[in-house]
Amino acid sequence: MSRDNTLQQQADAARREPPMYRADLTLTQVTRDISAPITGEPNGWWWAGFLISVALLGMGSAIVTYQLNYGLGLIGLMHPIMWGTYITNFVFWVGIGHAGTLISAILFLLRQRWRTAINRSAEAMTIFAVCCAGLFPLLHVGRTLLAFWLIPYPNFRYLWVNFRSPLIWDVFAVSTYATTSLLFWYQGMIPDLATIRDQEKRPLARKIYSIFAQRWKGTAADWHHYESAYGLFAAIATPLVLSVHSVVSTDFAVSTLPGWHDTIFPPYFVAGAIFSGFAMVVTILSILRKAFHLEDYITLDHMELMNKVILGTSMIVGYAYILEVYMAWYGENRYDWHIYVWIRFLGTYAWAGWLTIFCNVLTPLIFWFRKARRSLVVMFIVSIIANIGMWFERYVIICTSLAQDFLPSNWGYFRPTIFDIGVLVGSFGLFFTLFLLFARFVPTIAMSEIKAVLHHPVGEISGSPTLEESHV
């Protein structure tokens, strides 16, 4: 079959799909709707959310200050379990971040038109999640002020880092990821910032947006390079996002510990990251679209598609859980068996193991039903459960494996303290503070892309899907 025929068939199929957006949306309307939160005054809900988030952030900061003053002993770490909730939080937040890149890059490459409604906020989520994630290794190391030693900076002693250590891989991967995501996000935002700049009446705001809009004019040449670069960014970010969580997984997979030393970790972690990331996107967007009246842009169709992704990745994760047990059995390694089966599902940590299974494998099964996929209440609850489950998945991986390893004399049991919990809650405070500021000051939906899709319902626009189908 020739390529043309295929494209034609796909285009026909796409035309048969119901349109993603309301038919009567105009460009002017799009600009007005999406820039409304920016140019207007925030409502009470925003203020309430912001104050709560800032309060949580303040509490987290106070706890962190206290911990930096007195030492890591305040959190629940103990002799065998040297990594606890901080690393759990790190992996959790990095994982959350993945959905953003996935939506903006991978779905872009796959020509998924529906991404345009959510990619901006998903990318923002990525950035803020990586911000939260990046804090934890800093708080986690014993000598936070010397954490910069992990960076191979030139020094007169020629003392470099150990490039063999997965933690150094982490440093490179996470910082590259943070940088690339930020650049990608910002670059995609410049046209929209220019739109805001040109709509903004207040002089100071106009100046500020003018700075960030970087003299964007929207000329044909600008768009020409912009689109090319956007595609390249997507092409870079796709392997990057897969590599980042793979590298994070090597923090565990490269070690010798039963429960960590596992070759399926990289794909398993990436799937888990997508799962939790999409769940977080669903959680946030189901609030955002209500709060900022963006139901016309983030439609139920969008949400349903994301729920399908959640369902799919949850099954991959479930498969990985089964595979771990299977390999422990097949490998006849008594230490692995002890961790994977005895500790996680029958013994000390059975509560956490089954909680993980319940949240990550069983609960998302409800998305097999179309009704559930399209119910905001259901998806909100399921997405929150999924994120709780994914936090506990990391908790189970980290703490159970460390708790009962080779020599029984070492065994221990991890009990988080109020500091562990406080810092986790504080990180949510940071995340939502940043996100609410984002929603207030930056267009939460990529206006230019929406406009492109509106004007070219069937992809003729190279900046967004050319030929698309609305299924995953």
Binding site: T26, L27, T28, T31, P152, Y158, L159, W160, N162, F163, R164, W169, F172, T176, T179, T180, L183, I190, P191, A194, T195, R197, D198, Q199, K207, S210, I211, A213, Q214, R215, W216, K217, G218, T219, A220, A221, D222, W223, H224, H225, E227, S228, A229, L232, F233, I236, P239, L240, S243, V247, T250, M447, E449, K451, A452, H455, E460, I461, S462, G463
Partner: protein, 177 residues
Amino acid sequence: MSSFVAPYKGKPAMLALFIDPHQLVDAIVALREQGYRGLDAATPFPVHGLSEALGMGPSWMPRVTKTAFFTGATLGLAFQLWANGWTWPINVAGKPFFSVPASMPITFECGILCAAICTFYAVFIAGRLYPVTNFELLDSRITNDRFALFVPTGGQNVEATERLLQKLGAQEVQQLG
């Protein structure tokens, strides 16, 4: 490429605003057929076919990205070899001072980082983007809902051009310069 920056202080020109991108593209094609040169267009979103209509070649961005990626990766690998294997080899866990597989994650990340930064700045350079506090477009609707066409007239055939543009669907035509 400062043709859309207000106040416009270049040679006499004409600014036509369209409400339909298709009309804009068609207008460009028509104008170019009639011998107009130096046309420029500005749109609120990337309009397919616009760059082709204006006669632009393929973007040089991919070359930047590719070069940057391989440069970054090579430097990353070389640095690891030099640091761990050359300048101060240390016996770590009885392993060889340097081994390629263990160096791959960082090599890859270095390449990506370099590619991302270079691509990002390449867009800035290509579009002459830099932060200013008082930027104004010729018409603020260009980034919102209008599709602008910039036609340098050199002060000749002004009225004919205006008529032509209106005929091609321009909603508004302004004299510049």
